[in-house]
Subunit: 322 residues, 2 copies
Amino acid sequence: MEITKKVRGGDVRAASRLIRNLEDRIPLAKDSIKHIFPHTGKAHVIGFTGSPGAGKSTMIDCLVAELRKRNKTVGVLLVDPTSPFTGGAILGDRIRMQRHATDPGVFVRSLATRGALGGLAKAVGDAIHVMDAMGKDFVIVETVGTGQQEVDIINHAHTVVVVLVPGMGDEIQAIKAGILEIADIFVINKADREGAGKLYRELVYMLSMVDKFPGGWKPPIIRAENIFAMDSFQRSLDEMTNTIDQHYQNLIEKGLLGDRIRRKAVLELNEALLSAILDPILTKLVESGEMKEMTDKLLKKETDPYTLAEGVASKYLVMPDV
Amino acid sequence: MEITKKVRGGDVRAASRLIRNLEDRIPLAKDSIKHIFPHTGKAHVIGFTGSPGAGKSTMIDCLVAELRKRNKTVGVLLVDPTSPFTGGAILGDRIRMQRHATDPGVFVRSLATRGALGGLAKAVGDAIHVMDAMGKDFVIVETVGTGQQEVDIINHAHTVVVVLVPGMGDEIQAIKAGILEIADIFVINKADREGAGKLYRELVYMLSMVDKFPGGWKPPIIRAENIFAMDSFQRSLDEMTNTIDQHYQNLIEKGLLGDRIRRKAVLELNEALLSAILDPILTKLVESGEMKEMTDKLLKKETDPYTLAEGVASKYLVMPDV
């Protein structure tokens, strides 16, 4: 296919269009992904997550600059938190990552949810494939991480970096958000701020409670100084970049990269199943007016959602035991 | 059914067990919900969302005390952010809401995700039904809101309160998170902190850009003083409680309550459909070993997720046009 060739050749316009079409679930784009899929699996995918305001975007911006200094090409996917009404991506790639705009070695795209169940994680997975097929050495995915959807998104990464910042009120929030379990590397940003020591000690304590880390990789905690103190920041940036590399090497050496890749494959298959199975049924229900009828019945309390859903399942599914 | 009667009689142990069973997707619990469903729809459901560390739990704790002073009974659902590995609910209801533990007019439960797609929003909807059927005047749902799942959860509420706090770094994050569109009431917590004025002005500006609010309800912005300054806090608490009441009255007067209830019904139906259609197919695929086979093929790059998913859909769905 023409577009597959263009994407593999690194054509930015073709890749941008394909990513947008995948996001919009245009059937032809799905076909393109089928052709691109065999040419993927080479890029090191790095996920960045953390609370809003933790300074992830700035940090990624610096990481991109550092990777470019090391002669690596980079794709960046900025996943905007849900804005189900406006369609999200208000900030978009326009105002972030400005300084890399003219560098052909950097390809930046924003993705936002379009309200479809599970749709965003799938769009992210596809966009990673596109950047991977373009030949980018690294693909960096940024999301705001607390919910299941964000965890699904970040599970596309080989290396997960969790960015924390002191003084967000309650440091135990880090535990609540369940990010301990998905982090490969912790970065305490703005580590010169009050509360940084407390946050560091809490993380150390949390990690001390874990019996055994897969592959013996105990997530390192990097303390990043304020970006404006340039000398110390460069030290932190070097440390972060090197640690990210070490994590990937560790995955390979301990034979764990296969597990991560399998985790990604299972995730992608589930997302594809969700869409392939549910979309046609929902479309049918809406177009035939059944969805409205069922909703009306619910409002009159004539029946309940479970009974209705079972009715739909028995009508549309062929299964010996349903 | 015995359990339905017990729940309607306000039996705390029966209700707790039912909520846990619903969360664990025990089939019998689904039957109980079918019986409970006709007895629901009386409670005023209030959703609280906002960034981690915004002080939502403390605020809800105070709101519960205030509602109790007004002789109202209250159910509280604390939805823990995802912890897909530990099963979440680390903090749980044990350490929050302590002072209401012995008050029979207050019923507090925590819910955490169990990793199932769309499962949490459904469990929240069901738990609201249980508390509603118990006869609680108010059901308060707390979640941390940025992702699609959190929006799904908060859409179960009639009145959505968004809690913000100054100094989280970048106030524009509020826009990014798309919470403007779902908020009925904004509360600026810790309004005596630096940056509160800026946050207030930004919210006012954001709201000024909206042409028309449904039912003419322009979300009010409440500035809550620090909880330790008790006098001013009580004023803020009165203001918040009264505003929540006014919002509900406005929904009724403008005939908008029906729209909210319809929105909830559509959401619940979608969640029930997701589970009724997808669960049996996924179970089948896992038990038959097909899921493993498909994953292996993906890892060998023999095929792609879309092609596999289409194969599954055509095998399990009866549809003229699939």
